[in-house]
């Protein structure tokens, strides 16, 4: 076979290769690109993403569909009580659009009890000595009870008002209480609490999922023992940075997809008015998420030499993520204010404060700066640990061992 090897030119053998010789790409960009390409061609990764999207879309779709659906209750009534049930049936839709009432005619009380206990009727409405009774089988029907209560009360009021020669409106005049908030509005405050929980939970799930993925990716070179070849090709820091960038890009793309489908779904539900208020903080959350989680997990990967050891080297990080989760749920007042600047707590708390409207934009920028600085410091540490545990292709190292290991 003819030789395909071009002889090396000994005259330029000592010249350093210029950095732009890499096809115009920095080494870390090559590493990041490989991470992305490999993941995108990995069937398990693509399938997992699609399944999650389908689940989110399905959940949102179900929410949207069920929000427009009313539950129909059959209420049994004897001939004497029928007018009241008719009135309930007529007014139910106006009082609560998820409740519809059908009338189930029964000859007497015994038949009504039988109908309820057989499940033919959901409830039996009948007059008692000093009012009305709604009998159900095993559990109270909350929405139905509320509707019935209002209708019966209104009927009683009307009857007594006309007995006194006046109207219900006149009786109630001047007795109404409405509420206003000096700052913010009620809907937003309620929303903030809900979305804050969603942020905390999403951060928890996402850091664990993507964090383990990143740690596995960092360990990959050591596990497959290609690390020596790469370490003689590019500086180890470039490898580590490339891995973090590539995996973070994938994580953010996934999160954006999930969040996008979630927001789109939200806009189809009766809560669609909330979408603009939630969208801004969601973007902040994504930004903080990237800066917050990625660097931390590189350390876990740097310390292990095989995938099996990720579990044990990442335990302290799992604890930290848990602390962030609970911290963001339970911290309040000054503690919350302070923690919203401290990495990694700031990753959840600052977007939450932005959502509540209690933080200015410059506060967010400051917290982000601190978070980025912390991430940079962690990458530096991880690089040192990684470089020193490089040839340790068996067994895991403690942080202390890796730090003090000779190069």
């Amino acid at each position: 076979m003819a030789t395909t090897h071009a002889p090396a030119d000994p005259t330029n053998a000592g010249l350093p290769a210029p950095p732009e010789a890499r096809d115009g790409h920095a080494p870390w960009a090559l590493v990041a690109r490989r991470e992305v390409v490999v993941k995108l061609t990995d069937r398990a990764f693509v399938l997992g993403t699609v399944v999650t999207l389908v689940v989110i879309a399905g959940f949102m779709g179900w929410q949207a569909w069920s929000a427009g659906q009313a539950t129909t209750y059959t209420v049994a009534a004897t001939a004497a009580d029928r007018p009241m049930v008719e009135r309930v049936s007529a007014e139910a839709g106006d009082l609560d659009d998820t409740v519809a009432v059908e009338i189930g005619d029964v000859p007497d009380a015994a038949a009504a009890r039988a109908a309820v206990s057989d499940g033919e009727a959901d409830a039996w409405l009948h007059r008692a000595d000093d009012g009305w009774v709604l009998t159900t089988d095993r559990e109270e029907q909350g929405s139905l009870t509320a509707v019935v209560r209002q209708v019966v009360r209104q009927a009683a009021l009307e009857q007594q008002a006309s007995g006194l020669g006046t109207t219900v409106e006149q009786l109630e005049a001047g007795g109404a209480v409405t509420t206003t908030l000096l700052s913010g509005d009620a809907e937003r405050a309620g929303l903030a609490a809900g979305v804050a929980f969603a942020f905390a939970f999403l951060f928890y799930i996402a850091t664990l999922t993507f964090g383990i993925t990143l740690a596995n990716s960092v360990v990959e070179e050591k596990q497959s023992r290609i690390v020596e070849i790469i370490a003689t090709s590019i500086p180890v820091r470039q490898l580590l940075v490339g891995k973090i960038v590539g995996n973070s890009m994938l994580a953010v793309t996934q999160m954006v997809l999930f969040a996008g489908v979630g927001l789109l779904g939200l806009s189809l539900t009766p809560y669609s008015a909330l979408v603009p208020a939630v969208s801004g903080p969601v973007v902040w959350f994504l930004v903080f998420f990237v800066a917050g989680f990625a660097a931390l997990w590189a350390v876990a990967g740097a310390l292990a030499s095989r995938t099996e050891e990720i579990q044990s080297t990442s335990t302290p990080l799992t604890m930290l993520v848990l602390a962030v989760f609970f911290g963001s749920l339970f911290l309040d007042g000054t503690a919350k204010l302070v923690a919203s600047y401290i990495p990694p707590f700031s990753a959840v708390l600052m977007p939450t404060r932005l959502l509540e409207g209690t933080a200015q934009w410059w506060e967010a920028v400051l917290a982000l700066g601190l978070l980025l600085a912390a991430a940079g410091a962690v990458v530096t540490v991880a690089e040192r640990l990684y470089r020193r545990s490089l040839l340790q292709t068996s067994g895991k190292l403690s942080v202390r061992q890796a730090w003090s290991a000779p190069e």
């Binding site: 090396a8 000994p10 090559l30 003689t232 040839l391």
Partner: protein, 293 residues
């Protein structure tokens, strides 16, 4: 030329490599021989810069070696692996790019080398789908892809079948012939003997012998094989000789005093016909056993 001088590396209290010095000359195949734990891998890792050195120096073309120089070397580590789930050609192109090649050049180089190793039809297979021997060939391609200016290969022949050993040997010779210094370690002494121009023998972290393969051999014991018409037992009485073996009419003698072999020959002729009188070149394994003992 790659010059290694006084390289030392300790792991805890153990000195794995202790003042190792030798040269790897341009255009020559230098074999690096030694038992397990002799320090070959540690030395090669220090040469490639993946392991720090505690003392000593590595010089390339007359000046201290830099990371940029090392990147242009072809390196095949002892603990080798590639990405098991990535396609063969894709990862070779990636590794070539990390070494500073353009994607096109890396692709061309990888395809040419794969073809040479008979893997032209496996370029789109995932690495893990290949047999271990073929994975090893891909490893070799990864080390040679970027037209390296020097080769440092740790056990390049282990795990190769005879055909691949021949291709590998040809490749090494070609690279050396193009003026590139080649250093490779091996346990297979017969292979080293067949291939190498120069030899470095390591034992317990020290160089115990190094130099031209011929020189090393001539520095070894001088032996003659003697086949006579009659019984050869009498050679035991000839002064200045060490009798290694006598078996009926055959004898293997080692010359202690120069000229003693001529005395033996004369005595033998006087006693009858001499059927064979041959100098025996010591095999590399004999030299190795002697210096490494």
């Amino acid at each position: 030329m790659l010059e290694i001088s006084g390289l030392t590396r300790r792991f805890g209290d153990v000195t794995a490599v202790d003042g190792v010095s030798f040269d790897v000359r341009d255009g020559a195949l230098t074999g690096f021989v030694g038992g397990n734990g002799a320090g070959k891998t540690t030395t090669m890792r220090m040469v490639m810069g993946v392991l720090g050195r505690h003392a000593g120096e590595v010089r390339w073309q007359g000046r201290p070696i830099t990371a940029t120089d090392q990147r242009r070397f072809g390196y095949m580590p002892e603990e080798r692996g590639l990405y098991p789930k990535q396609r063969v050609l894709d990862q070779l192109v990636y590794l070539g790019q990390l070494k500073g090649m353009s994607a096109t050049a890396a692709r061309r180089g990888a395809q040419a080398h794969l073809e040479r190793f008979g893997l032209a039809d496996r370029t789109t297979a995932r690495l893990e789908e290949l047999s271990l021997g073929n994975q090893q060939r891909v490893q070799v391609v990864a080390a040679l892809l970027h037209d390296p200016v020097a080769l440092v290969l740790d056990e390049p022949f282990s795990g190769l079948d005879p055909t691949a050993v021949d291709s590998m040997a040809d490749l090494l010779r070609e690279h050396a012939a193009s003026g590139v210094p080649v250093l490779f370690s091996s346990h297979q002494l017969d292979l080293v003997e067949r291939l190498c121009d120069r030899l470095v023998i390591l034992a317990r972290g020290r160089v115990v012998a190094s130099g031209d393969a011929e020189e090393l051999r001539s520095g070894g014991p001088v032996r003659y094989r003697l086949t006579l018409e009659h019984d050869a037992g009498w050679v035991r009485d000839v002064p200045g000789l060490h009798v290694v073996d006598v078996d009926g009419r055959h004898a293997l003698v080692e010359v202690l005093d120069p000229g003693a072999e001529q005395a033996v020959l004369r005595a033998a002729s006087a006693r009858g016909a001499v059927l064979e009188f041959t100098p025996v070149r010591p095999a590399l394994s004999d030299i190795y056993r002697e210096v490494a003992a």
